[in-house]
């Protein structure tokens, strides 16, 4: 049976898709057979971030409607043996996905994968609800900014009350905080909420801090999940987060302003 992870946030544009691609790829890199599922019906984007947009033939809704089998719809990653993507439908029909339809697909995926990573759409409406409903664990992606933190708290309330685990009285969804687009320099200046502040307010376990990084845009330009850029700060931070997800104790990096030494500045070396 697979572990179902949802990457969610409430607020839009905070880095859910970037994170789903990175975490899913990181799990596959560590040998776990993983599928990343795009739940953003009508706004398919995971395929672009993963670099498989030209190979989408069938999507999630086709599988739900029986127009394609799961095997036909799953897109195998070109780089990693045990990594797959299930694309979102571009339909404008908001009711294309139903609880029953999603349940059927989740069940079949669970039998064939170790990890199912669900990339949630923004908001707290139907799409976001379906993405988190069957989850075992949740990665709550948050930016150090007031509206994102508030929306994350709202999402935590929903995870605790509106998921299948909550409704059936099972163990609660395990919640992880992933702080992204973090800028240590601005935190030092008192212009941005710090890790401790956000942790204190949301009171859930911190699984990683991803710095604001130019590597993210570069990676998305090329359709390469940023975690595969193992020289980059964001790639390394995501890598640490995956290790923590798998139960390893890893110290947090990139929390402090990186001071460049005189020689490093001169020769442009990286620390």
């Amino acid at each position: 049976m697979a572990k179902i992870l949802v990457v969610t946030s409430g607020k839009g544009g905070v880095g859910k898709t970037t994170t789903s691609a990175a975490i899913g790829t990181g799990l596959a890199l560590r040998g776990h057979k993983t599928v990343i599922v795009d739940f953003d019906v009508g706004l398919r984007n995971l395929d672009l971030i993963m670099g498989c947009e030209r190979r989408v033939v069938y999507d999630f809704v086709n599988v739900v409607n029986g127009e394609a089998t799961l095997t036909q719809a799953l897109i195998k990653d070109k780089r990693l043996e045990n990594l797959f993507v299930l694309a979102a439908s571009q339909t404008r029909d908001k009711d294309a996905l139903t609880v029953e339809g999603v349940e059927k697909v989740m069940k079949e995926l669970s039998e064939n994968f170790e990890y199912v990573v669900c990339d949630s759409p923004a908001g707290i409406e139907k799409g976001a609800h379906l993405a988190m409903y069957f989850a075992d664990e949740a990665i709550v992606v948050t930016n150090p900014e007031v509206s994102s933190v508030r929306d994350s708290d709202r999402m935590l309330g929903l995870l605790a009350s509106k998921s299948r685990r909550a409704e059936e009285g099972g163990d609660p969804i395990k919640e992880h905080l992933l702080l992204t687009r973090y800028n240590p320099e601005r935190v030092t200046k008192g212009e941005m909420l710090g890790v401790d502040d956000v942790e204190e307010i949301l009171a859930i376990r911190l699984i990683g801090v991803i710095p604001e990084s130019q590597a993210v845009l570069k990676a998305s330009n090329q359709g390469v999940p940023v975690i595969l850029d193992d020289q980059s700060d964001a790639g390394q931070a995501y890598s640490d987060a995956v290790d923590r997800l798998l139960g390893k104790e890893v110290a947090h990096r990139f929390l402090d302003v990186q001071k460049k030494g005189f020689l490093q500045r001169l020769f442009g070396g990286r620390e």
């Binding site: 007031v146 933190v149 508030r150 708290d153 008192g190 212009e191 909420l193 502040d197 307010i201």
Partner: protein
């Protein structure tokens, strides 16, 4: 927080600490709302409508609160009637 604390915060020059304080307040408030049953707002509105048949009141003059006390819950209604 009183007004002096507010200025002291500002003096520290930190908009982040203002953000944190505002978040702590709103998040605590919204968590409190979350545990309330969904029917409270509708109940409040219907009460207002009934009372308005007899007295002209604003909707914020009816307060409805549900408090859990051990094995039972207490529904507290607080209705402020206008000056006569």
């Amino acid at each position: 927080m009183n007004i002096f604390d507010f200025f002291r915060e500002r003096k520290k020059g930190s908009t982040a600490s203002i953000a944190k304080e505002r978040l702590q307040i709103i998040v605590a408030h919204e968590r409190g709302q979350r545990s309330k049953p969904d029917y409270l707002p509708a109940l409040q509105q219907e009460l207002v409508d009934v009372i308005r048949k007899y007295v002209n009141i604003e909707s914020d003059q009816v307060q409805v609160a549900l408090e859990n006390q051990g094995s039972c819950s207490i529904l507290e209604l607080n209705i402020t009637l206008p000056d006569r």
